[in-house]
Symmetry: C2
Subunit: 245 residues, 2 copies
């Protein structure tokens, strides 16, 4: 039995997130599984590194699947390139140890949230950046972000319905950079709760706009109440950048 | 009479280039003129910094127009943002000297041609990069490009129909950079003939693939024959990056 590790790039605009759902719902996992199943003539389960929300993109999503198919990696990549839709590309594939599990073995993940902070919309990246025409105060956002770095209970920053689940996570860094009005916020952590990056981003945007102060971030974190945080930022600005194993 | 200088970003995919043509043909100039005319309630002629081909993009296209309209620059920008199609954005506008002419005053222009040289297509930039899966030899391309720098008769690199037009131009630099399989070729010169950047690019691609040698570039240049050069590279990889005055 081969265990194949794959690296995927996808534009999430048309999909209801990564994970297969009941009913005839377009998801990345479902698309991949159906094309790989045709290629291998087997039933295939693709194990992803984690869920992504509806509309969220991925630049380097990692997954794995096991198969008895004897095609070479090159042949498989060519097949997938031909039969997957234009907005999903398997960029790389390799035979890996039978012990490799794309979800269990994750050490950390990096997400990037992109904001066009120029007054006027952008032509080229509008599908992948959130447009906020009002000037954001990057320094205040950076100060607020620093409060979240470390190991905390991120209950305030999730829409998880199952309250019994552990909500403690470690954020290793949040880097906020601005270049010519384009803001990139990079989040690295050992795991992120449902909607966590987008709710943190929504809160940081409120701080950048001045409707909240950077010191408020501490109170919001300690409140462990979703209602204390800012709104969930739009999905299309978010992309999974890469995964560390 | 005010003379307004504008900076435009456009995705050329849907348009037959910059310049207004006879008949009901979608061009950037025609779109801009019709929206500005509605805004100013005047007949408007927008003077562009030059033509761009069908399907070519622009990141910072410069144009100007004269008007008696008394709206502020802010009001005009807001109007244009609202009424122009999604793929054309006027990013900046300012009142300028009555002597400023977007075409006559150009000192030089910078174009960028983008190639995805990875084996598999790309999800995010496919509308703005040309996919060439076979590995290109960047060093050979750089050596060939160096032959073109300077003042030369570029007759071999144009599809100009009017043979009486002067075909001598000066290329100040051609920078070819590669990062993670993404190649950017930047061309700066005092002016470019019809299709010139795309024919040079097509020739450089042949050299990168090894079907032509870098030394051939000298013979091609000296031949002053379109048939000696390589094919015209696809339009969608090309963008006008900026214009120097």
């Amino acid at each position: 039995m081969r265990n194949l590790k794959i690296e995927i790039e996808y534009d999430g605009s048309r999909y209801k997130g990564w994970q297969t759902q009941k009913g005839n719902i377009a998801t990345i996992q479902e698309k991949l599984e159906s094309v790989i199943a045709k290629m291998t003539k087997e039933e295939i389960q693709v194990i992803g590194c984690g869920r992504t929300d509806t509309g969220v993109h991925a630049e380097n999503y990692i997954a794995n699947f096991t198969t008895n198919c004897e095609k070479t990696v090159e042949e498989m990549l060519d097949y997938l390139c031909e039969y997957l839709p234009e907005d999903i590309v398997v960029k790389a594939m390799k035979d890996t140890s039978e012990r490799f599990h794309a979800r269990y073995n994750v050490i950390s993940k990096t997400y990037v949230y992109r904001i066009n902070n120029n007054k006027y919309r952008n032509v080229f990246n509008k599908k992948y950046t959130c447009h906020i025409p009002e000037k954001l105060d990057i320094e205040q956002m950076q100060k607020a972000a620093a409060i979240l770095v470390g190991t905390h209970d991120f209950m305030s920053f999730t829409t998880l319905k199952n309250k019994s689940k552990a909500t403690v996570r470690t954020i290793n860094y949040i880097n906020i950079r601005e270049n010519d009005g384009n803001i990139e916020m990079e989040f690295n952590g050992n795991g992120f709760l449902k909607n966590m990056v987008r709710i943190i981003t929504g809160t940081l945007i409120e701080i950048g706009l001045g409707t909240k102060k950077f010191e408020d971030m501490k109170k919001i974190l300690e409140a462990k109440q979703r209602s204390e945080a800012g709104p969930t930022a739009h999905a299309h600005g978010l992309a999974l950048k890469n995964v560390q194993y």
